[in-house]
């Protein structure tokens, strides 16, 4: 038996993609134990939400995750609307779907770049960023900001799409579809990429559920778990799309799921653009006070299931806001995945979970 050694990865380590520490206990090349330390950027966002009027928290909800700000503010706003019992117009709902799906694409591109870079395919470190920039340009054109949008409002959206948006958006979806084909070819034909993805970090269906995995990680393990289908919100029931599911449970399956999701997202956006109602109130008046009551609302974030548990107390300040982050559970389970594997498998496993420390530490 070889000697045991402890390795500290983090808080500033290139594969961590954020500030957190991974303590690994090794025996030669084998990982025999691990511990994760988080909390480096803990900002008490939940407390901030409980200390200010409900409509002023939304820009902070953006800051939960810097790569998918739209989905976090969207989830917060929709949870508040559910608590208020508000219904937004069809046009606003379609516009929301378009923005959320573009955000999903941008988020998956960021992930792909980080994942391929960690695996040593450095060409793919920069290529997805080029395409992501086109998506961000479009989002900037609509909202005025590249990453922190502050575009959703209780009762609708901040303002209308700019002129020519529908055409630009449709053109972009076709362009992205072409690009995705190229990505898949570049990566799945790469020996290095496949060696470090196939049967690395295998997560069984039972473990995935028990460890609280959601989103692409859960679907890569063979569970049909997509909130857009299970508990539909907005106009998702009116749109035709598939939920990709793989049974491999390894890093390759998680990669394939995300690639397929980008294709499905472009498909959803095109349908939404076609069906976008020309008329409709997009910024309704909202009540000032939250009623007595509570709501647990969840949506499908690019990382998995994002949830807000909000308690209203007949006041404009929410009494309690609990944020359920998908990356929180996915980080917790990477500790289980890396134990028993090789040290060299740690980067692909961490990267395939798609972590975002902003929403984990909150």
């Amino acid at each position: 038996m070889s000697e045991q050694m402890y390795i500290h990865m983090g808080p500033q380590h290139p594969v961590n993609h954020g500030l957190w520490t991974l303590k690994v206990k090794t025996e030669g090349e084998q990982v025999v134990g691990s511990e994760i330390l988080i909390g480096y950027i803990f900002r008490m966002i939940e407390k901030m939400a409980e200390s200010r009027p409900y409509d002023t928290f939304q820009p902070l909800a953006d800051r939960l995750c810097y790569v998918s700000a739209m989905s976090w503010e969207g989830t917060y706003i929709m949870a508040i609307e559910k608590l208020l019992g508000m219904e937004v117009s069809k046009r606003a709902q379609y516009m929301r779907v378009i923005m959320l799906e573009f955000q999903r694409i941008a988020s998956h591109f960021t992930w792909l770049s980080a994942y391929a870079g960690d695996l040593g395919v450095l060409t793919m470190l920069v290529i997805p960023y080029r395409e992501r920039e086109y998506v961000l340009d479009l989002l900037e054109h609509v909202t005025g900001s590249r990453m922190m949008y502050n575009y959703f409002r209780v009762g609708g959206l901040k303002h209308e799409f700019p002129q020519g948006f529908v055409n630009d958006a449709r053109k972009l979806t076709y362009y992205l579809d072409e690009r995705i084909k190229e990505y898949s070819a570049m990566l799945e034909d790469s020996k290095v990429f496949m060696l470090r993805s196939v049967e690395v970090g295998v997560l069984s269906k039972e473990n995935a559920l028990n460890l609280g995995a959601t989103g692409p990680v859960l679907r890569a393990s063979g569970v049909q778990g997509d909130i857009r289908k299970i508990e539909p919100y907005l106009v998702y029931p009116e749109l035709d799309f598939e939920v990709p599911v793989r049974t491999g449970g390894d890093c390759l399956a998680r990669f394939q799921i995300r690639m397929e999701e980008i294709r499905q997202s472009t498909h959803i956006i095109r349908q939404a653009l076609d069906n976008l109602p020309p008329e409709g109130e997009i910024n309704q008046k909202a009540p000032r006070r939250l009623p007595q009551g509570e709501v647990y609302f969840r949506t499908e974030d690019p990382r998995g299931e994002a949830g807000y548990y909000i308690i209203g107390n007949d006041d404009k300040i929410p009494y309690r806001v609990k944020i359920k982050s998908p990356a929180y559970s996915n980080l917790c389970l990477t500790s289980h995945l890396i134990t028993g594997g090789k040290v060299a498998d740690i980067p692909p496993i961490i990267a395939s979970a798609d972590l975002c420390m902003g929403e984990i530490d909150r």
């Binding site: 988080i38 909390g39 803990f42 008490m44 939940e46 407390k47 901030m48 200390s51 039972e206 559920l209 028990n210 460890l211 609280g212 859960l218 569970v223 049909q224 778990g225 299970i230 508990e231 509570e294 709501v295 647990y296 969840r298 299931e305 949830g307 548990y309 308690i311 009494y319 309690r320 609990k322 359920k324 929180y328 559970s329 917790c332 389970l333 289980h336 530490d361 909150r362």
Partner: protein, 172 residues
Amino acid sequence: MTPIEEHRKQIQEKLSGKIDDVQIIADSRLEIKTSSDNLFEVMTFVAQDLEFPSLEAISGVDWETHFDVVYHIDRWDGDSTVIQVRVKLDDRDKSQVPSITSIWASANWHERELYDMFGIHVSGHPNLKRLLLPEDWDDYEHKHISELYPMRRAYTLPEKPFSYKPQPNKEV
């Protein structure tokens, strides 16, 4: 009978005496009220007999007179029901819930966060220590006891940013 009504019926039949109340509070939201003594048994039933395989979140709520601990449990596989288990803890100073990490492994961090933010003790947890705050947070200089557990209502946000310094002569 819709799935959620079936779940409610089963809970009413099998868990009578163990729970205080069970009712449908919204679309596909089923709430069970129970006490911390019966919590483990209720959770075992929910996980094994009702086949709810995944725990989503554990939230603490500070009502100033008492604490609530709220568990959200998910079904997946096409059933949108979320079971919400609510435990009321009357004794604020000795508030305690049993650990459910043996049922759902994902409870590990959620329970640590509950302890970290609210100071609710989780008995039987394999590794109950601070998660988001520093491990030696208790040794820092605190003006008020509520600063130990920042999500309690007594803790208010300070006017201006402040920094905590570890006590002198202490190895960190």
